[in-house]
């Protein structure tokens, strides 16, 4: 008979860690998103989870929050093993998560959003608005998080919306708060506010996990930092005992950028000319307030800026997906301001969309079917009245699969079954192979591993060297820096400056992105 050996009584009062994740493994088709990850967060600490996009941070936290099941591994909450089979269980265990994309109802007020799911009820069916307001007010005072409770969400700035998300999680009894890339949508000022709030939470004894890929932020706010790279833990360090350089090396593992050889064009030829472009966003608020710039052949123009300053709307206006309220867009001196997307594609516009799974690919379609999207209605693929030449499309797909070394079992594999990097290759193969004059590339390396990132970047430079005009929109300043011939800084719907990357310092660009007036 075997007896379980009890651990000896501790000499000091042992506090079990708030979270202990042991040997977590999670696989998706084609990728190991989390590879035997060990991750421990002590009670009451602010723990940074650092890594590049696609390193597996969000996947790990989604497992903790019960959004994904795990393939292998164990999770302990406060020392007790927990099987988290859904967000409901996670919430019961005191875990709250604030996602990158907010999960709040825009038409409801702040108070209503906070109590959503735990509404105080009056006479069995009615929402007790007064009681809700009162309890939420007390609650906000306790955490010293100020917000206008009666305002509808859609009227609030992003920073405030995020605060509502945090309050909502706390209201549901969260002791452990996961913040997924909380600063990516914030202005520098709002970031400072957020940091204040996080410190206040720590004083109240809450545990915070702070996911980010921004080194400086993590160093500023966190007690300890765990670095992930390509699905594995590189190490956990104390914030006080490390520096930006060490973290960067841990995060990327090597010199980030190769230098790309760029050919200089003989003569300047404008391909895209945008003049005084204005457009509104989905909420009907002005998003583009008179944008003007040009992109020439043999040139990469990088657009730098904090996300949400009109970049998305700019791209949609250029590709014909969003109506322009005024101004003009000229492609090779042809006015395409009001042209539908289909016409712009024929005129030589290629678009590598920001969200490849939503805009770039049809996930249920095969690689082949995705390859011909946009050219499907023209010869050689369309024959006669409406016939689609499958043979022609197959040959074309096979050619591109080889040319762009796309790792797919066959041309008939649905795009859904490919890894993120491979999916992006399919998009690039399609967009770069129809003789574009202008390439609009949005966040082209987001979520890709180092190898795929390198590939995408070198392809962009290749296209430039072949005479394409490339408009690069990237949230990654380093990327914009390394690839662009000129950098345009976008702030609040305007191009505030156009700079030569070789003659501009990073801090100067940073200031411009944060809204400082150019000299």
């Amino acid at each position: 008979m075997t007896r379980k050996v009890k651990s000896p009584p501790p000499f000091f009062i042992h506090v079990p860690p708030a979270i202990e994740m042991r040997s977590i493994t999670k696989k998706f088709p084609g990728v190991v998103a989390n590879d035997r990850i060990d991750f421990t967060v002590e009670k009451g600490e602010i723990h940074g989870l650092l890594g590049e996009n696609g390193a597996g941070k969000t996947v790990l936290m989604n497992i903790l929050y019960g959004l994904y099941g795990l393939d292998e591994g164990q999770i302990f909450i406060d020392g007790k093993e927990a099987e988290i089979d859904g967000p409901r269980t996670a919430i019961k265990l005191g875990i709250g998560m604030v996602h990158q994309h907010f999960m709040i109802v825009p038409s409801l007020t702040v108070a209503e959003n906070i109590v959503l799911g735990n509404e105080p009820i009056m006479r069995k069916v009615l929402l007790d608005t007064n009681k809700a307001l009162k309890s939420v007010t007390e609650f906000c005072d306790r955490y010293k998080l100020e917000v206008d409770l009666k305002a509808p969400i859609h009227a609030l700035p992003v920073g405030m919306q995020q605060r509502v998300e945090i309050l909502k999680a706390l209201y549901r009894g969260a002791d452990i708060l996961i913040l997924d890339e909380p600063t990516s949508v914030l202005t520098p000022q709002e970031v400072q506010e957020l940091f204040k709030a996080i410190r206040a939470l720590k004083e109240q004894g809450k545990t915070v996990i702070f996911i980010s890929h921004k080194l400086q932020e993590v160093l500023t706010i966190c007690d300890r930092i765990t670095v992930l790279r390509r699905g594995r833990v590189v190490g956990t360090v104390k914030a006080g005992e490390t520096n930006v350089g060490e973290l960067a090396t841990m995060m990327v593992g090597r010199e980030v950028f190769s230098t790309f050889e760029k050919k200089r064009p003989e003569a300047k030829k404008t391909v895209l000319r945008v003049e005084n472009l204005e457009a509104v966003d989905d909420r009907n608020l002005p998003a583009l307030k008179g944008v003007s710039f040009e992109v020439c052949a043999f040139e990469i123009l990088g657009i730098a800026g904090v996300e949400g300053n009109g970049q998305t709307e700019l791209v949609e206006a250029l590709t014909g997906l969003r109506k322009v309220t005024s101004g003009s867009i000229l492609l090779n001196n042809i006015d395409i301001t009001r042209a539908p997307p289909h016409e712009r594609i024929q005129q030589g516009t290629s678009h590598v969309p920001e969200d490849r799974q939503k805009r770039g690919l049809i996930m249920d379609f095969s690689v082949m079917e995705n390859m011909i999207l946009g050219s499907h209605d023209r010869p050689p693929f369309a024959k006669g009245f409406v016939r689609l030449d499958i043979k022609e499309a197959s040959d074309y797909a096979n050619k591109l699969i080889e040319e762009f070394s796309i790792k797919t079992p066959s041309k008939d594999t649905p795009a859904r079954h490919l890894s993120g990097g491979t999916q992006q290759r399919v998009v690039l193969a399609r967009e770069f192979s129809r003789n574009p004059r202008l390439i609009i590339a949005c966040q082209p390396t987001r979520g890709l591993d180092v190898g795929a990132t390198e590939y995408v970047r070198s392809k962009l430079v290749d296209m430039r060297n072949e005479g394409c005009a490339v408009l690069l929109i990237s949230a990654d300043l380093d990327e914009t820096w390394a690839l662009s011939d000129r950098i345009a800084v976008m702030y609040e719907g305007r191009i505030v400056a156009v700079k030569d990357p070789e003659k501009t310092s990073e801090s100067e660009l940073g200031l411009l992105m944060a809204g400082a007036k150019p000299d």
């Binding site: 539908p340 997307p341 016409e343 712009r344 024929q346 249920d364 379609f365 999207l373 209605d377 016939r387």
Partner: protein, 374 residues
């Protein structure tokens, strides 16, 4: 006359080749169809419980149903007669569904198609049948197409949801055609709200006397083949499927979503309308008020039971046709009420509409491989 039988033989040969092609496709899709098969089995199982509880012998009832549906030539004829209109309406639902639209108004499109075909059938005398039949069929398709085009434009222009508009237009179709055969186009001196018989030159031949099975079933099979072809091998089908699976990406790829919606729903309506025309020209030879026992609504269920696949639709239509024709025999010979057939139909739909339940049962039943294959 010699020549004519040759034509028929050629038609039958083409149909057979088409069926072979379609079922080859179906075989490839079969692993995905397993939940449907299990849903049907479950429905019969629960149906047996209902029978036993109400004091009938499930074995006798099912036996009577089976022999009624497939036991003799007459039964088989009736089964296929009942299946034919459902094939059309199911294909109509399927086609719209592939573009992401929920066309639940096949009943209305079916009725309008039936009525316009009847009008053309009545209006011309002395045309040769090889002209009269096609124009009557085309008229039916166009009537249905119009009834699909209206909600399509409402959706594309005003954003009106097609579920509401197609359903409402079904009632409009029901009452407008009802009015037409009660007043302006009523057969003089008749007690029944119906038109006069169509000209013999517009009749689709009956192919299995004495049952009402008509050549409309060939049209149905051809349409199944055509639907498959359009979806897989044409730019229209490509765009329709692209819009259905990811409208944002389709839009980025230069596909006009509005045009696609209008095209898909109009073609869908045309398919249902063609089915109505087939019923009028082949079975009733006139438009009778209330002649459809809800073929349009059955089409929706059959499309889902058929796994949203044209060949699957053919099979599922035969199942539903068999339930209708076998049910009648069952009532006659065993005194089990006809409602049992309706209950079975409802159960099939219920289980097909509850894929999670079926999936769960399959998991328990050791069908693990299925999960990995999807």
């Amino acid at each position: 006359m010699q020549n004519l039988t040759e034509h028929w033989k050629a038609l039958i040969r083409t149909t057979r080749r088409l069926l072979q092609r379609l079922f080859a496709e179906l075989k490839a899709a079969l692993p995905k169809m397993l939940p449907q098969v299990i849903a049907i089995l479950l429905a019969f199982l629960v149906g047996a419980v209902v029978l036993a509880v109400t004091g009938y012998s499930p074995l006798d009832a099912y036996g009577a149903m089976l022999s009624g549906a497939f036991g003799d030539t007459f039964g088989i004829g009736q089964t296929f007669t009942q299946a034919t209109p459902i094939i059309f309406t199911a294909l109509a639902f399927l086609f719209a569904y592939k573009s992401g639209l929920f066309n639940i108004g096949a009943e209305g499109q079916f009725l309008v198609g039936a009525f316009t075909a009847a009008l053309v059938g009545i209006s011309f005398e002395g045309l040769p049948f090889f002209i009269h039949v096609p124009i009557a069929l085309i008229a039916g398709a166009m009537g249905g197409a119009l009834w699909g085009f209206i909600p399509a434009v409402l959706k594309a222009r005003l954003g009106a949801h097609e579920v509401i508009t197609t359903m409402m237009l079904s009632y409009v179709a029901l009452y407008v055609t009802g009015y037409m055969v009660n007043y302006p186009f009523k057969e003089p001196g008749s007690w029944v709200a119906q038109t006069v018989f169509i000209s013999p030159s517009a009749e689709l031949p009956r192919i299995l006397q004495p049952t009402q099975l008509s050549a409309s079933i060939f049209v149905a099979v051809l349409l199944a083949g055509l639907t498959h072809y359009i979806l897989q091998k044409t730019t229209i089908g490509y765009e329709v499927r692209a819009i259905g699976s990811n409208p944002s990406a389709a839009e980025s790829g230069g596909i006009s979503i509005k045009k696609g919606i209008v095209l898909a729903l109009t073609l869908s309506g045309a398919m249902a309308g063609l089915g109505g025309a087939g019923e009028v020209l082949g079975v009733h030879r006139r438009f009778i008020e209330g002649f459809s026992p809800g073929y349009g609504w059955d089409g929706l269920a059959v499309a889902l039971v058929g796994g949203l696949n044209p060949a699957g639709v053919l099979l599922a239509s035969v199942l539903f046709g068999a339930l209708r024709s076998g049910g009648m025999t069952m009532t006659r010979t065993t005194h089990v009420p006809l409602d049992i057939a309706t209950i079975l139909q409802a159960l099939v739909i219920l289980f097909v509409a509850a894929p999670k339940l079926v999936k769960y049962l399959m998991k328990k039943g050791g069908f693990k491989w299925w999960n990995s294959s999807t």
